[in-house]
Symmetry: C2
């Protein structure tokens, strides 16, 4: 049996090398150069070509290379009995905490304005927004969202969280599915960390923006599809939202002609909130590969019905 790495536009050799470093007996192949398709039992996938998994009749499990599985769930060519898992490693969580914290601090401390002023040699101090009066509202209180909530709280932000089923976390006001409006009314800095499902696709729309507290800011570190782009432009133009920090986009790389690039009220980063570290990911991939071969439970297995 073998372990297959499948990705488009991404060099998978560092992942293969780290896997072999852990166990040199594992038979690792990198798509498309697969010598014996019938031996493939476990695949690791990132931005895979549709239908590619049809070629492996004995495939039993696929791991996403990241925390999201929205690229796997909609692929109907993946048989239902193929189990899905994902890579949830401490550094992905830690990096996401750093990204959201950095973004929130930069928003209340006017970092981008100072950078623009520096280019004009302009010395203009601004008052910071009062951190203790800014409530960060996190949509999606799974493993990532809960970690981000705690980190923001430790750093002096008021934090609340919203998720499909209510979570209990010390010191954090949590809301469930039916309490979305209450959650939004309390929120100044909205952070989207939701999984992408049919229920959450396009959830960040004008109707939602109108319910936010004032001033309002948006940080999207989940998926581009969560956001209705034209609604954000409208909300920024009309002052419903003061500023948005976007790390993810419907089309990535974001096309050079996209109107987001030129907006002063949008901060764009090239999907760098969390970058999967090959060494750390390899260790989890090898663990799950061996669990599969031994018939054990997989770590971080995905419920295909729920979508995460």
């Amino acid at each position: 049996m073998s372990l297959l790495l499948v990705a488009q536009n991404r060099d998978m050799k560092p992942f293969r090398d780290e896997i072999l470093e852990i166990d040199s007996n594992i038979d690792v192949e990198i798509w498309p150069a697969v010598s014996k398709p019938e031996r493939v039992q476990f695949a690791v996938a990132w931005n895979h070509p549709k239908q590619v998994f049809r070629q492996y009749p004995n495939l039993k499990a696929i791991s996403s290379l990241g925390a999201g599985v929205d690229h796997l769930i909609p692929d109907e060519s993946i048989p239902q009995q193929v189990r899905l898992t994902r890579v949830v490693v401490p550094s992905l969580k830690e990096q996401m905490c750093d990204f959201v914290l950095t973004s929130a601090l930069n928003l209340i401390r006017n970092t981008q304005a100072y950078h623009t002023q520096q280019q004009r040699a302009d010395w203009i101090p601004h008052q910071h927004l009062p951190k203790e009066e800014m409530t960060v509202g996190i949509m999606g209180m799974g493993e990532l969202g809960s970690a981000v909530a705690s980190r923001l709280q430790v750093n002096g932000f008021r934090v609340c969280g919203w998720s499909r089923s209510k979570k209990e976390i010390d010191g954090i006001d949590t809301y469930d599915n039916g309490q979305l409006d209450d959650f939004l009314n309390k929120t100044h800095i909205l952070v989207c960390l939701l999984p992408l499902t049919s229920q959450t696709d396009g959830i960040l729309d004008l109707d939602l923006f109108k319910k936010l507290g004032k001033p309002a800011f948006l940080i999207n570190a989940a998926r581009g599809e969560h956001l209705v782009e034209e609604d954000l432009i409208y909300a920024l133009d009309t002052g419903l939202i003061n500023h948005a920090v976007l790390d993810v986009f419907t089309e990535e790389p974001l096309p050079g002609s996209h109107p987001f690039w030129g907006r002063k009220k949008i901060t764009i980063t090239p999907h760098i909130a969390s970058l999967t570290d090959p060494k750390e990911a390899a260790s989890l991939i090898v663990e799950n590969y061996k669990r599969l071969l031994s018939g054990m439970e997989l770590l971080h297995e995905v419920d295909r019905e729920r979508g995460y």
Copy 2:
């Protein structure tokens, strides 16, 4: 007796209003409109005109409006028996923690590069510097420095601290006066929070930069005089230092013609790391004013010999 507020280029009315809000019986005057100079016993000063305090024969104490007293100590017209204090309030510490943390996170996460790339519609991801391998070295482990050290540590940075007399803080390697080289060798992100004294004036020079770990970064949130400006330019040009974040300058506002403005490897903010909040400062000022009148010890009194 009266309480006098003295400042140049700064509106002191919000401070007067907050003081009167706490105790409307206090006689507060704002320089230069002082009706009865002989009644002034306590003064609050920021960027005061030299010699101004000669006009108040019964002055017993002066409070700096901030945490620094380097504008008061060198003024030889202030009689030796006049006691000096400063405003050390929780929000100043909290803001400084936020500033240093934000700056350190932006350095390791390439924030400024992404902002520049956005202006060119350029999508180029960069690896973050590994936070757990970056040691932040804090020069000056007083009230501010110790708070900053703890906050960085909570956020996953390795932290060490250097001060004249060695401090004991859980989980933080501390160094004293004689161990400066050891401290610098361990440090990647050097944070200056020192008081400005004759010993620390010009301490951030080429000789010091050469001893830092690699890669090296500088954050100066203390006083412009700590830094030898031409040595920083040389260190940036030769790669001894990768990037510097400067909030303070020898001349403020930084003149439009200053070479720092145009440097990509320097991030400039207009002395905004910590902004004194009138409400919070007023409460400490009133407390010290009443302590002075009752002959009690003053809070945060300065040792003029030490210089802080």
